[in-house]
Amino acid sequence: MNGAATTPVWRILSAGIALLAVLVLIYLVLPTLVIVPLSFSSDTFLKFPPSGFSTRWYESFAASTDYQLAILNSLKIGVPAALVATVFGVMAALAVVRGAVPFRRTLAALIIAPLILPQIILAIGLFPLMAKVGLIGTYPGIVLAHAVVTMPLVFITVSAALRNYAPTYELAAMTLGANPWRTFRHVTFPMIRPGVIVGFIFALTFSFDELILAMFLTSPTTRTVPRLLWEQLNFQMTPIIAAATVVLLTATIALLCLAAIAGAGARRRMGRPAEGVNG
């Protein structure tokens, strides 16, 4: 188990474990990728193997007003929801990690709960409430719902960023005459910025992917991409869904690359924490 001399039995066994791990990784990744060749199919039906190559489904996807509207809706909902989640998540993380609050652990559990509880419960609880105040099918309704379930993601990443360095920097700033806002603005925020950005991107990705709340709280005019995909899935199986899916997959990976770059920047910066103090 540690690269030292071992007997043949253990070497064979550890090779077997490594092989199993690789097989599991293939099982994890490969099935999703079958969509890619199918999206370039020339058939009208999902057929494997495709009988020819074409980009017609991407063309129909690009021409589809339904998809255009859904993508626009996903942006109109995802961006404000992620912004609200980020502002509130940062506030919550600051209070719970740095503040002197009672029941710290319980509070943290409460803040994370919306992410862990099955969304169907929240959906059937929110529906009648929002119906009462006329929020069903409106942007604010779904934005607030998504903000609640994505706030935990920001809370988690920002809490981790805050725990990464000692509060000494903030105490130092205060002894140097910075009030709480200026301490946050000039010391805390620069130190946690990568965590905030990563949290924002996670929240955005989550909102783009979320189906159940969207199913209950959006209308045909405010419906998001996952809801449109879902409705199409239950009616037809043309390769246009595959094409849409590949586009979404690409967008998700692009967002994650952004998050990774932000995270790597964080690690570089944390190597020189003094930089954060100076500004």
Binding site: V87, P118, I121
Partner: protein, 268 residues
Amino acid sequence: MLLAAPLTLLALFFLLPLLTVFGQSFAAPDGPLGTYARVAGDSALRYSLIYTFQTAAIVTLAALVLSYPVAFLISRAQGRWLVIGMVLVLVPFWTSAVIRSYAWLVLLQRRGVVNEIMLALGLIDRPLRLANTDLGTHVAMVQIMLPFMILPLLSAMRGIDPSMLRAAAILGANPWRQFVNVYLPLSTPGVGAGCVLVFISTLGFYITPALLGGSSPMIAVAIEQQVSRLLDWPLASALATVLLVLTCALFMLYERLNRRLAGAGEGR
């Protein structure tokens, strides 16, 4: 006060809806506990609850067994291999469950990829029924849940000081005993976190079972059906309350266990 705003958001759009669900579940014409009596009396719903629990247990166990070697391998990797391993886990983690379930449908349906390949290879002469079976749905759900198991395991394993294994080795433990006596106990926090996460998520699983089906609807699917097809909000709310209570109980049990483990050591 920093907490005021986030707590208000939580109160209005999280706690209040949960209370609403709770309240609705008692709003039946046939007395306050009427809906619960109907859940208890309906054998299909009863079976759905049991089936959901069984599925959660199976998926959790399978995910744990498959994830442990993967997490172990990645925790040992360095440089480029570590990056590749993390990407292979994180990309599926962040890929929409709708997309991943759709892929399984494409693979498993009657004229899907798996059947076509097996037909072409002459392994079978008629397409097998793969979608709408428990096996097919479980295989898909395990695949979708794997990252939720791998990531907590990985974080626990990366925290294990390599000198622990060296110490065990020099004290006379062969690789098997190094694993059983030292590595496994030190990785239990990750095992616990992963199992709780996967179990809870599977209890509330909607997308994959709704798309692929199985011998019975999962609770989340049953709730959605009650609302959208039968418009029976009280019954849906009663089922949701059951799911809520179970999830909370599991989560609290886990928190307590976690706290005890943390209190017992890990003092490095």
